[in-house]
């Protein structure tokens, strides 16, 4: 059983670049995919605000920068090698070859890609690249407020090539998980489980922040958290509905599901909050939106709108209680990447196997039937893909961190951590009054201070 979305392309002969039955280039699909790519790119800054608002103000910039730099370092790595490794039609079932390295041969025609597309291949490359960027950025939420920035830069860049790219190959590039019949519409396994597990491992390798569990560490700017959640949702329409690669009925159902699942998750989360403490929290609502989005991601184009409502509602529970547990545990997965993306991603991947259906809202836009449509086996296939992703992601992240640790220390000193990562890692503060800062001139002598008094 093959991944049907690739079938048109792969049937002709996996690895062959010129494909006879390539569909025509579509301006309408191009229009939507231009927008969708921009929307997914916006998710990374959105994440910067979601994460940045949750930390203390002395680490706000550091946390935001962990996402922002992915736009550069991971983006460039993707263009240079990542794309080819993940999605070249060549290579084998485990890894692509380097035919597209340095974007060599990635054309403006809709030809040559591993999948049958109706938009310029180059644009499709860019769209896929935005996924790699956000996934790398997601991991950073587990290790905020303590990792040396140069070490992070190195880790993140390597991770995008060594962890993300192969996994993308397996699921989306005609690799062995696709062969097995595992389905992941927009990245439950490749993006969210992957990021969640890597974050978990990274949090364990890095260790807890020195204040963790000893004093309360509170979000310094909850409106930023809400802003981030809102922009993530907005961008996620590009992520999920863009994963139909065109302005189709498939994109439409993915879009509607991306609107309804977080809505349902929000309602359930708010009611859980209300029941447990009598108060609906803003951080909770922001988190619920993200969890709802994570859960629907692998299923977006494969399930009906009513199933999306159910998936959002059901999906809120595991992550909600995982976060409650985590906060009381000794695990400093600081911004709950595991509970949100890892657990949410697993829930979504499994539920995709439960709710998947070929005919959705009267049209055959789905690709397979799940448990409820009479194909219980699909749940097992999904679960198997989850296991593979968990294993690979955990192992490789561990190895990479140890490797980076050999090159340069991973942790900031306790003193730097206490002073704040913004000042010590970036030489900046997020919010300054300007009072008491002395301008330093070229000569190295502060202006406005008598040289005499200095000595």
């Amino acid at each position: 059983m093959r991944n049907l979305r690739l079938l048109g392309a792969l049937a002709v002969g996996a690895g062959s670049v010129a494909l006879a039955q390539d569909p025509e280039l579509s301006a309408a699909d191009t229009a939507w995919m231009l927008v969708a790519t921009g929307l997914v790119l916006l998710m990374t800054p959105a994440l910067a605000f979601f994460y940045g608002g949750l930390v203390r103000s002395k680490s706000a910039l550091n946390t935001m920068m962990m996402s922002f730099v992915a736009l550069g370092f991971v983006g460039v790595a993707w263009a240079l090698v990542g794309y080819s490794i993940s999605l070249s039609p060549g290579g084998n079932d485990f890894i692509g070859d380097l035919r597209f390295a340095f974007l060599n041969g990635v054309s403006l025609e809709n030809k040559g890609a591993v999948a049958a597309i109706t938009i310029p291949h180059l644009l499709w490359m860019a769209f896929q690249g935005t996924f790699c960027i956000i996934t790398a950025a997601l991991v950073s939420g587990s290790i905020v407020e303590r990792m040396r920035f140069p070490a992070y830069l190195l880790f993140m860049t390597l991770w995008s090539v060594a962890v993300y790219a192969p996994l993308a190959k397996w699921v989306w590039g005609g690799g062995f998980l696709a062969d097995l019949g595992a389905w992941d519409f927009a990245g439950g396994t490749v993006v969210h489980i992957n990021a969640g597990i890597s974050g978990l491992v990274a949090a364990l390798v890095l260790g807890t922040r020195k204040d963790f569990g000893r004093q309360a560490i509170l979000p310094h700017n909850v409106p930023f958290v809400l802003l981030g959640a809102a922009l993530l949702w907005f961008g996620w329409f590009g992520f999920n509905a863009g994963s139909a690669w065109g302005a189709s009925q498939s994109a439409s159902i993915a879009f509607v599901n991306t609107m309804l699942a977080p809505a349902a998750a929000l309602v359930v989360w708010a009611l859980l909050d209300l029941t447990r403490t009598g108060k609906v929290t803003a951080v909770g609502v922001a988190t619920a939106i993200v969890v709802g989005l994570v859960v629907i991601t692998p299923a977006a184009g494969y399930v009906s709108a009513t199933s999306a409502l159910l998936m959002g509602a059901i999906g809120a529970f595991p992550s909600y209680f995982a976060m409650l547990w985590r906060a009381r545990s000794k695990l400093d997965d600081s911004l709950d990447v595991f509970a949100g993306h890892g657990i949410g991603g697993m829930t979504g991947a499994i539920l995709t196997g439960v709710f998947g259906q070929k005919v959705i809202a009267g049209v055959e836009v789905g690709y397979f039937n799940g448990l409820l449509a009479g194909n219980p086996q699909q749940v097992l296939i999904q679960a198997f893909a989850v296991l593979i992703a968990v294993g690979y992601s955990a192992l490789m992240t561990f190895i990479l961190l140890k490797l980076v640790g050999v090159i340069t220390p991973l942790r900031a000193s306790a003193k730097d951590e206490a002073t704040g990562m913004d000042v010590t890692q970036h030489g900046e503060e997020g919010y300054t009054s300007g009072e008491g800062a002395i301008l330093v001139l070229e000569s190295g002598e502060p202006r406005g201070k008598p040289a005499a008094a200095k000595s």
């Binding site: 309360a216 509170l218 929290t281 976060m323």
Partner: protein
Amino acid sequence: MKLVVAIVRPEKVNDVLEALYKAEVRGLTISRVQGHGGETDEVQTYRGTTVKMELHEKVRFEIGVSDSFVAPTVRAIMSAARTGEVGDGKIFVLPVEKVYRIRTGEEDTAAVTPVA
């Protein structure tokens, strides 16, 4: 000369300002502070993390007055800031050795008397 330092509830600031105005106290400095006293702690929750806010928002008044003004100043604050519930705050009266008005160099009582 005395320095009257008062810690009051933020929601009472405007009332206190008004009362001081009526008491003809013209010069003062305020700042936002956080206090802990007998107030019941309020509980907040951020995702799974439950915290007790031990500190409550307060506003601190600092008023330099000549000796004869101490009593009216204290009285004005006391009546305007009181709600009768725990957390109303405190007033401290500190001795001052010297006061200067930066603009003119005037000292002590002259320094705190507004110029018409």
